[in-house]
């Protein structure tokens, strides 16, 4: 699966933004608003990938 644009949400400040996500090459996420790394792909974006 190639990289695709996904919505990310910062759990620290609640800021939402769009970014690229490639499941084969996961990269570091940083909230552009508060610089926190607690940035989550909301559940609908990651559905079906649970262990």
């Amino acid at each position: 699966m190639a990289a695709k644009e996904t919505k990310f949400k910062c759990l620290n400040c609640g800021h939402e933004y769009n970014g690229m996500y490639d499941p084969k090459n996961v990269t570091e996420r940083t909230c552009p608003h508060c610089r926190s790394n607690s940035v989550r792909r909301p559940q609908d974006a990651s559905a079906g990938e649970e262990k």
């Binding site: 759990l11 620290n12 090459n25 996961v26 990269t27 570091e28 996420r29 926190s36 790394n37 607690s38 940035v39 989550r40 792909r41 559940q43 990651s46 990938e49 649970e50 262990k51």
Partner: protein, 601 residues
């Protein structure tokens, strides 16, 4: 020594590497070739000479460079007319030794090696994107590499320094420093390329020596002459009359009549705007990782820094060891450096390698993974996770537990964290040991504590850094050290919440600093799964946090603690109780499901 060859693949581990090397076809027998150059005289094809930076041409049959080893000609088949069908064949006709073989083929050579030293070097930055310097527009703007060829006795002009537009020797010349280095505007690279200042100083001295009276000006932001004897060289250059102007030119235009270059620069020492008319300009281009460095990284399972250079195992204690055991690094593959530093590092790498080779055996850290074959369900996820390819999983149908090569295992623990069957035992960081730490932390006043998992190399050291720097932060965190954040199992986090933790923080190295190549990627994936799981159970996902904190980021560690103090206080007793209840119920459901499955079996 195998020159004109490429490594195709490397497998194995310390003491047992198997490398496949492609020896490229030369079409000239190097054992017979006497480098008489008769072939090149008759070759009708002329193409730009890459070694001479395109200032002169070479033939299709050529010596790659004067000191090539072996001293033999090669044919570039992309340029040659004489192959398939034979259309030329002039070189073969004149070769008295009959060295030329148009049917030569690449050869694959397999070698066994105990140690691998990566010394793959670097590339130079292409200044094209700095359009204001006019590198692609003005003939008399050249790079420092092109300068080297022009001033070299073995170069296209036999060392007579001329400017490309009219082949006259320039009387005024300028050098612009830091082209593609120390840049924060999105062009070039943010790091210092280390060698450019001294290279320019050397170039100015050469010019002053060869052409007394030449006016040389150097435009710089900082001159860094830090090595032994370097300051003396800098002073000598100044004494020779070279002008050092602190300021990087903003604009360069060309006089269409004289082809001279007019620079506009703010001299930051005087604070005045200056204009300089120069006959020639040299861009001191920076150093970049080799363009094929990604292939080298994959071949040797190395990790790289954010700059793209290979990361060492430890910057102070193991500066020439790669994170993969049995692999050492030397030269610019690790960072930009000059010849002296490269030679020093190569010597150190060879010495480190000889220790292992002479011993004939290697000692490994006891922190490695082991398999409990009885628990294994042969899914093979552990082999997929391992950044070092230390786990060999047989085909699932074979129903055999994977084998862990202890010599290759680096002890990150990502396999143990990903194994859903708990079939992997991470020595010294066993599940029971970590669970016991969580229980001890939450034994008293659990609502006041932030359970923090910190990786040994970065975030734990970041916490240390905050302490030694006397930074103030609330004493809420209780640290649990793991070798890598990749070791933090989902069940550790769930266990902490089940015991009443208001919040959990998982912290590790930045992706570019990961001491276990790509293990942090698994941390991120696991966190995504955990956030989803918590949300499904009605627990706020933001009670689980993730922060990448490097060993130097004591400030960040303290900031995160300050931010999380208020977040911890905001978690109510009711919320904690609800979480404990929800997770207990989830555990019961899981056990019932497991029991049903067991009965079914």
């Amino acid at each position: 020594m195998m020159t004109y060859s490429e490594v195709e693949s490397i497998a194995g581990f310390v003491g047992n590497f198997h490398a496949t090397i492609r020896k490229k076809a030369r079409y000239v027998n190097p054992k017979e070739c006497t480098a008489c150059a008769e072939c090149t005289k008759v070759c009708p094809v002329a193409v730009p000479d890459e070694y001479q930076q395109g200032f002169s041409s070479r033939k299709a049959i050529y010596m790659p460079f004067p000191q090539a080893v072996p001293s033999s000609y090669v044919i570039n088949m992309d340029n040659c007319l004489g192959n398939n069908p034979l259309a030329c064949g002039k070189c073969a006709d004149v070769c008295e030794k009959h060295c030329i073989n148009y049917d030569d083929q690449d050869e694959l050579v397999n070698i066994e090696a105990g140690i691998v030293i990566a010394a793959t070097g670097m590339d130079v930055y292409d200044p094209t994107e700095y359009d204001e310097y006019g590198y692609t527009r003005f003939d008399n703007v050249i790079t420092s590499m092109e300068f080297e060829r022009l001033i070299c006795a073995g170069g296209p002009t036999a060392g007579h320094f001329i400017r490309p537009s009219d082949r006259s020797t320039p009387k005024t010349i300028g050098f612009i420093q830091c082209v593609g280095s120390r840049s924060r505007d999105g062009r070039g690279n943010p790091y210092c390329s280390n060698i450019c200042c001294m290279n320019t100083i050397k170039d100015t001295l050469l010019l002053c020596d060869h052409y007394p009276g030449i006016e040389a000006s150097v435009f710089y932001m900082d001159m860094r002459a830090f090595g032994k004897g370097f300051e003396d060289l800098y002073m000598r250059s100044k004494e020779e009359g070279v002008k050092y102007i602190r300021g990087i030119p903003g604009e360069i235009v060309e006089d269409p009549t004289t082809r001279n270059l007019i620079l506009t620069v703010e001299n930051t020492t005087t604070g005045k705007r200056e204009e300089h008319e120069l006959e020639m300009l040299v861009l001191a281009q920076g150093v970049i990782p080799r363009r094929d460095s990604d292939q080298v990284r994959k071949l040797l399972t190395l990790s790289t820094t954010s700059d793209g250079f290979v990361m060492e195992s430890h910057p102070k204690l193991k500066p020439v060891d790669a994170p993969t055991k049995g692999v050492f690094i030397a030269g610019c593959v690790e960072s930009p450096k000059d010849v002296k530093d490269s030679v020093t590092q190569a010597g150190a790498a060879a010495a480190r390698a000889s220790i292992l080779l002479n011993a004939g055996k290697t000692k490994i850290e006891a922190i490695t993974s082991g398999i409990n074959a009885e628990r294994c369900n042969f899914c093979g996820i552990c082999a997929q996770v391992c950044p070092y390819h230390a786990i060999i999983a047989p085909d699932r149908k074979a129903k055999r537990a994977p084998v862990i090569i202890q010599a290759a295992c680096a002890g990150c623990g990502a396999c143990a964290a990903e194994c859903a069957q708990d079939a992997i035992i991470m020595r010294h960081f066993r599940d029971e040991q970590i669970m016991a730490q969580i229980e001890a932390i939450l034994e008293r006043d659990p609502h006041k504590h932030l359970v923090t998992f910190a990786c040994n190399w970065c975030s734990y050291a970041g916490g240390d850094n905050a302490g030694t720097a006397r930074l103030q932060y609330p004493p809420i965190c209780r640290l649990i050290r793991t070798m890598c954040s990749g070791r933090v199992d989902e069940k550790f986090v769930i266990h902490a919440f089940r015991l009443g933790a208001p919040m959990v923080l998982v912290s590790g190295c930045h992706f570019s600093d990961c001491h276990y190549i790509s293990a942090v990627q698994w941390t991120q994936k696991r966190m995504d799964r955990l956030w989803n799981k918590l949300e499904k159970l009605g627990i706020r996902p933001d009670r689980l946090r993730l922060e990448w904190i490097s060993a130097a980021e004591g400030q960040k560690f303290a900031r995160v603690m300050r931010e999380l103090e208020s977040a911890v206080k905001a978690v109510t007793t009711e919320e904690i109780e609800f979480t404990m209840k929800a997770l207990a119920e989830e555990e019961i459901r899981r056990e019932e499901k497991l029991a049903k499955r067991t009965v079914g079996v």
